[in-house]
């Protein structure tokens, strides 16, 4: 097939990268070799030029949230300012007049970009807060269950 020989899912692009940056000592323990095999498996799944395939399991998938946050956090200040300015301009136009379908689409993608940048900045802290809130909820539930048990035993 025409596409299979070139861009688009052929053998050329589906190649998984081998581990790079090997140590230069030459002596490597079995554990290290096994870990390298695990890394290769991870690399083949996180390799962003591999063609999407149905999940077969086994390999560790990339965490698109954490990695995406890392990339979004590198957005230069000038680019952020330009996005905020464009959002402001389009939002004002939406309120005062109306937006053309193209402007409406543009506003949505600008907002998505800003969301990603802000998520990169505040998301990890909010996730931590969410985790702690869930933990407190769990503790509260456990304490309630414990108190209920104590009261039940008192009645005996």
């Amino acid at each position: 097939m025409e596409t299979s020989a070139f861009i688009g899912g052929g053998s050329v692009l589906a190649d998984a990268p081998s581990a790079r940056d090997r140590d230069q000592t030459g002596s490597r323990s079995d554990v290290f070799v096994r870990l390298e095999q695990m890394a290769n498996a991870a690399a083949s799944s996180t390799d962003a030029v591999s063609t999407p395939r149905p999940t077969t399991g086994g390999a560790r998938p990339v965490d698109p949230l954490a990695a995406g946050r890392r990339i979004a956090s590198m957005t230069p200040v000038a680019e952020r300012d330009a996005l905020y300015a464009e959002q402001r301009r389009l939002a004002l136009k939406k309120v005062n007049e109306s937006l053309t379908p193209a402007e409406d689409r543009r506003l949505k993608i600008v907002r998505w970009n800003i969301d990603r940048i802000e998520d990169a900045e505040f998301g990890p802290a909010l996730d931590l807060l969410d985790k702690r809130a869930n933990l407190v909820d769990q503790v509260a539930t456990s304490v309630q269950a414990f108190l209920a048990e104590v009261q039940k035993r008192r009645r005996w």
């Binding site: 688009g8 050329v12 990268p17 081998s18 790079r20 999407p52 149905p54 698109p64 998505w112």
Partner: protein, 243 residues
Amino acid sequence: MWTSLPRVSSWLNRAVAVPTLGFALDPLIRPSAFLWRDLEELTTRWAREPIQVADLEPMKIRIERSSGVHCTIDQQNIVVGFSYPVALTEDGRQLAFVKVGEKRAFTDLLPLLRETAADLCSLLVKKRSISRIGVVANVKLPPDAPPPGVEQYLNHLGRPWRSAPEAVVSRVTARLSVTERCHHQLQWQTDATVLALNLDWQRLYEPPREVEAKSLEKLAVEACDSALQYFDKFGEGDLNYGD
């Protein structure tokens, strides 16, 4: 050296997205040993940093640079791609751990690949004809926050059933114009942690066009710009969804 793309505010810069750039040329039957000789000057320069080289087949070679850029060359194709380098680190006191290379934005990676392709083409393309240039964006997204265009595309796929689909493994090849097409591959399911999207934009030359390294440079610059424009259009949802 090919000129670099201006830094644009692409949605691809807010996700794990890596490019691949490839050229499909007329067949040139040249064994790997000759290819290595053609590339001697370049590989010597690259070898200042660790590189890995391999004969994959009698007429197919692959070079992997420590930066994560890799090149695959055979009798018909020159493909330059990028993978985040994975290194194992051990300090003797604790178990070895996997370290993935520093993340980079899509529009920073694309010029890097173009420069590598320019270096390769200056040595390999004296006078050949080109039938296709391809630019790929391979994207991994968190499934709960896709860009508006991707969400619209997913909803569009579920329209016959009047609801968003529960899982999608799809590949759609669309003709964008007389000379352009794009393969859209998407893999997603409701409980998955990754939405995998592969946009494979191609410019076709029918009949094939004669090129030298310099003229190929111009075609590659134009192709990268056009591909990026289409990727942005797709992410924005600027297609005819019949709404």
